[in-house]
C-alpha cells in the first residue's frame, strides 16, 4: 500500500501500516531495518536538520523567558522604567514574549516544511516497505 515513489501522497492513508509492520517479520528483522535506517545518510540528515534547529532555539526561548521572569525579582527598578506613555519596560518585554512566541512558531514550521517533511515522508515509506 505505501508507495515509495509517491512522497507527496497524503499521509492520511498511512497510519495503518504500523500495525501490520509489527506483525510481519520477526523482531530481529525489524530491528535490523530500524538500525540500518538509523545509520543511513538520509535519516541522519533529517535528524541533524531537526536537532540543529530545535535544540539551540529551545535553549534561547527558555533562557529569554526565564530571564524575563527573573528580572521581576532581580531588577524591578529597570522594569519600571517608562518607555512610551503608560508602557514601561516590563510591559514592552511582556509583549515581546508574545511576539517571539509567534515568530518562533512560524520559523519552526517553515524549517520543518522546507528541511524535513519531504525527506521524512519518503523515508517513512521506505522503512515501512522494508518492514513488511
Amino acid at each position: 500500500m505505501p508507495a515509495p515513489t509517491a512522497p507527496t501522497a497524503p499521509a492520511v492513508s498511512a497510519p495503518s501500516a504500523g500495525a501490520d509492520a509489527e506483525g510481519g517479520p520477526s523482531d530481529d528483522a525489524s530491528t535490523e531495518v530500524y538500525r540500518s535506517v538509523q545509520n543511513s545518510l538520509a535519516f541522519q540528515r533529517i535528524r541533524h536538520s531537526y536537532r540543529s534547529f530545535v535544540f539551540p532555539v529551545s535553549g534561547v526561548f527558555l533562557a529569554w523567558y526565564l530571564l524575563y521572569v527573573a528580572a521581576q525579582a532581580a531588577a524591578p527598578g529597570l522594569m519600571r522604567t517608562p518607555v512610551a506613555g503608560p508602557v514601561n519596560v516590563a510591559w514592552l518585554l511582556g509583549l515581546l514574549q508574545f511576539a517571539t512566541t509567534f515568530l518562533l512558531t512560524w520559523l519552526y514550521a517553515r524549517n520543518a516544511r522546507t528541511q524535513r517533511d519531504r525527506a521524512a515522508l519518503s523515508l517513512r515509506w521506505d522503512t515501512q516497505d522494508q518492514l513488511r
Binding site: A14, P15, D27, Q38, F43, V54, P86
Partner: protein, 588 residues
C-alpha cells in the same frame, strides 16, 4: 450607554435567571454531542482514546486550546490582571511560551511514537512494566490535581454566577459537574470530548472577541487611555502597571513566582490530557499544524484577556471586582454587565448571562478532557499495560525480562488488526492466538469506562474536601507535578541514547515524590490562615509552588538512575524510537 449587543431575547429581569437558562442549554447541547458521538462508536480503543484519529488540524487546534484554556485562564487570569495589573500579565505569558516546548520538542515525536498515552512513548524503547506503571501513575496524579482544581473552581464559580454563595449550592454544583463529566467520557469517549472542546473553544474565542471589540469601541481604540484609566481605578495608581503588586512583597514571594513560572513553561508539555490530543490527528504533520493553531488561539486569547482584565479595572474598578469575589474570578462577567449597558439593562443582562454560560461550558469541557486522559492512563497503562501485562505479551509466552526477542510492545497489542481497521478504528479483534490470558481491546475500553466513573467519583470527593483551596494555586501545582514527573522522562526517552529503564523509573518518582512531599510541607497545607489545615503548622518548605526544586530533581534522578543502571541502554530499541519518532514509520 449604548447597547451594542444582540437583540433582547429575555425579559429584563434578574440577570441570573437568563444565566440559569443558558446553563441548561449548554448542558443539553453537550449531552446531545455526547450521545451523537457515542452512537457512532465501534467500541474500539482507537475510537475511545483517540477519537478515531481523523480530526483535522484546525479542529484539533481548537480542541487543544479548549483543553488548555480552563476557567482558571478565562476568569482567573483576567481576574488577576483586574486586581494586580502587570503581575497578572506575567502569569499569562508562561502559559503561552510553554507551547513552544510542546511544538518543538514534543508534539510530532509523541504523535509518531505513541498510541494513546504518554507511557506508550516510553514503553516503545523501555519495555518494562515498572516504567509503564510509574508513568501511568504519575499521569493519574497530575490529572487528579488538575481535575480537583477545575471542580473546586466550578463550585464557587457557578454558585457566584447564579447569584448564591451558599455552601450547599457549591457542593451540588461540584456533584453535578462531576456527574456530567462521567457521562461525557463513558458514553462519548474521545470523539465526544473533542467535539465538546471544539464547541467550547469556539464559544470562548467568540465571547472574548465580542467583549474586546465592545471594550475597544468604548475607548475609541485608545489602548494607552485604557491602561491609564485602569491604573486610575485600581487603587494602586502607577504601581498597577509595574511588577510587584502581587509577587513583590518579599524575596520568598518573588522566588515563588519564579518557581511557578518554571512550572508553567515546562509543565504544559507533560500534561496527559494535552499529549493525548495529538493522537486524534492522523499524522505528525497534522499534530504540528494543530499545535500552531493552538498557539495562535491561545496567544490571541491571552492578549484579549489582558485587555479584558484592564477593562474590568477601568470600568468596574478593582474594589468592586474584589468585593464580588476576593480572587477576582467574576471580573469578566462584571465587565460584560457594564459593557452591555449596566445592571438592569437588557444588553447587560444578556451579555452577563452569555459570558457566564461560556465560563460554565469551559469548566465542563476541561473536566471531561481530564477525566478521559486519567481513565486512559489507568486502563491502558496501569491495568492493561502494567498489571495484566497485555502490551508486553510475547509470542513465546510471558515472564522473560529481557528486551531482545520480545514483540514490539505497543503495536503488538494490535498486530492482528488489519491495516484497514486500524485506519478506521472501528473494529476490535478478540484474539487468543497466544494462548496467554490476554485482555482484549474491548475489555480494556470497558475498564477505561469504569475507571472514568471511579476517577470521577474520587475527584468529586476530593473536591468537596478541597473547597477552600485557591484554584490558581491548584492549577500551578498540577503544572509543577507534570513538569517534575512527566517532562524529564519524556525528554530523556526521546533524546538521550543512553537512557535506561531504571533512569525512567527514578526520573518519574524522583520528580513526583518531591513535588507532592514539598507541597505537603508548604504554607499551602499548614501554617497560614488560608491553608488546608489552618489550625496546625508543620510547614518547613517556604514556597507554595514546588517546581523550582522538584523539576531539577526529576531531571537529576533520571540522570543518576541511568548512570547507575546495571544494564546499558538497548541501542536497538532506541534506533526504533528514533526512526519512528522522526519519520513516522510504523506510526499508529
Amino acid at each position: 450607554m449604548r447597547t451594542a449587543t444582540p437583540p433582547p431575547v429575555a425579559p429584563a429581569g434578574d440577570h441570573h435567571d437568563l444565566a440559569v437558562v443558558l446553563f441548561a442549554v449548554i448542558v443539553l447541547v453537550t449531552l446531545g454531542i455526547t450521545f451523537w458521538a457515542g452512537r457512532r462508536r465501534g467500541g474500539g480503543a482507537d475510537d475511545f482514546y483517540a477519537g478515531g484519529r481523523d480530526f483535522t488540524p484546525l479542529q484539533n487546534g481548537f480542541a487543544l486550546s479548549g483543553d488548555y484554556l480552563s476557567a482558571a485562564s478565562f476568569l482567573g487570569v483576567a481576574g488577576l490582571i483586574a486586581l494586580f495589573g502587570y503581575d497578572g500579565v506575567l502569569y499569562s505569558i508562561g502559559f503561552l511560551v510553554a507551547w513552544l516546548v510542546v511544538l518543538m520538542l514534543v508534539a510530532e515525536l509523541v504523535r509518531n511514537a505513541g498510541r494513546y498515552t504518554l507511557a506508550d512513548v516510553l514503553a516503545l524503547r523501555l519495555r518494562r512494566r515498572k516504567v509503564r506503571a510509574a508513568a501511568g501513575g504519575a499521569s493519574v496524579v497530575v490529572t487528579l490535581f488538575y481535575l480537583v482544581a477545575q471542580m473546586v473552581g466550578a463550585g464557587s464559580l457557578v454558585a457566584l454566577l447564579l447569584g448564591t454563595n451558599s455552601a450547599e449550592a457549591r457542593t451540588w454544583t461540584i456533584v453535578a459537574v462531576g456527574g456530567l463529566m462521567i457521562v461525557y467520557v463513558t458514553v462519548g469517549g474521545m470523539r465526544a470530548t473533542t467535539w465538546i472542546q471544539i464547541v467550547k473553544a469556539f464559544l470562548l474565542v467568540a465571547g472574548s472577541v465580542l467583549l474586546t471589540v465592545l471594550l475597544l469601541v468604548r475607548f475609541h481604540g485608545d489602548v494607552a487611555e485604557l491602561m491609564r484609566q485602569a491604573a486610575q481605578h485600581s487603587g494602586a495608581g502607577q504601581r498597577y502597571l509595574e511588577p510587584g503588586l502581587k509577587y513583590g512583597k518579599s524575596f520568598t514571594s518573588r522566588l515563588d513566582f519564579f518557581s511557578l513560572g518554571l512550572a508553567l513553561v515546562l509543565g504544559t508539555a507533560g500534561l496527559p490530557h494535552i499529549l493525548s490530543r495529538f493522537y486524534t490527528v492522523p499524522t505528525a504533520r497534522a499534530a504540528r499544524r494543530s499545535t500552531m493553531w493552538a498557539i495562535g488561539l491561545v496567544g490571541g486569547f491571552y492578549l484579549m484577556a489582558i485587555a479584558l482584565g484592564l477593562g474590568a479595572t477601568a470600568l468596574v474598578g478593582s474594589a468592586e471586582v474584589r468585593h464580588a469575589n476576593a480572587a477576582g474570578n467574576t471580573a469578566v462577567p462584571l465587565l460584560a454587565l457594564v459593557l452591555g449597558g449596566g445592571n438592569g439593562s437588557t444588553g447587560g443582562v444578556v451579555l452577563f448571562a452569555v459570558i457566564s454560560a461560556i465560563a460554565f461550558a469551559t469548566i465542563l469541557a476541561v473536566v471531561a478532557g481530564l477525566t478521559l486522559a486519567s481513565s486512559a492512563a489507568f486502563a491502558h497503562d496501569i491495568w492493561a499495560g502494567a498489571w495484566r501485562g497485555r502490551p508486553r505479551r510475547t509470542r513465546g509466552g510471558r515472564g522473560v525480562r529481557g528486551s531482545r526477542g520480545r514483540r514490539a510492545l505497543v503495536p503488538a497489542s494490535r498486530r492482528a488488526r488489519g491495516g484497514a481497521d486500524a485506519a478506521t478504528g472501528t473494529t476490535t479483534a478478540e484474539r487468543t492466538e497466544d494462548g496467554a490470558p490476554v485482555t482484549t481491546e474491548r475489555q480494556e475500553v470497558l475498564v477505561a469506562r469504569i475507571a472514568a466513573v471511579g476517577i470521577g467519583a474520587v475527584a468529586i470527593v476530593l473536591s468537596l474536601f478541597a473547597q477552600q483551596l485557591n484554584v490558581a494555586f491548584l492549577v500551578g501545582l498540577a503544572f509543577a507535578v507534570a513538569a517534575s514527573a512527566n517532562l524529564p522522562v519524556l525528554l530523556y526517552s526521546l533524546f538521550w541514547r543512553r537512557f535506561t529503564p531504571r533512569g525512567a523509573v527514578w526520573s518519574v518518582y524522583g520528580g513526583l515524590i518531591p513535588a507532592v512531599v514539598l507541597v505537603a510541607f508548604s504554607p499551602v497545607v499548614s501554617g497560614t490562615k488560608v491553608a488546608l489545615f489552618p489550625g496546625v503548622d508543620f510547614h518547613w518548605f517556604p514556597l507554595e509552588n514546588p517546581g523550582l526544586v522538584s523539576i531539577p530533581l526529576g531531571f537529576l534522578a533520571g540522570w543518576i538512575g541511568t548512570l547507575t543502571s546495571p544494564e546499558p541502554a538497548d541501542p536497538d530499541r532506541y534506533a526504533e524510537l528514533e526512526v519512528r519518532s522522526l519519520t513516522g514509520a510504523g506510526a499508529a
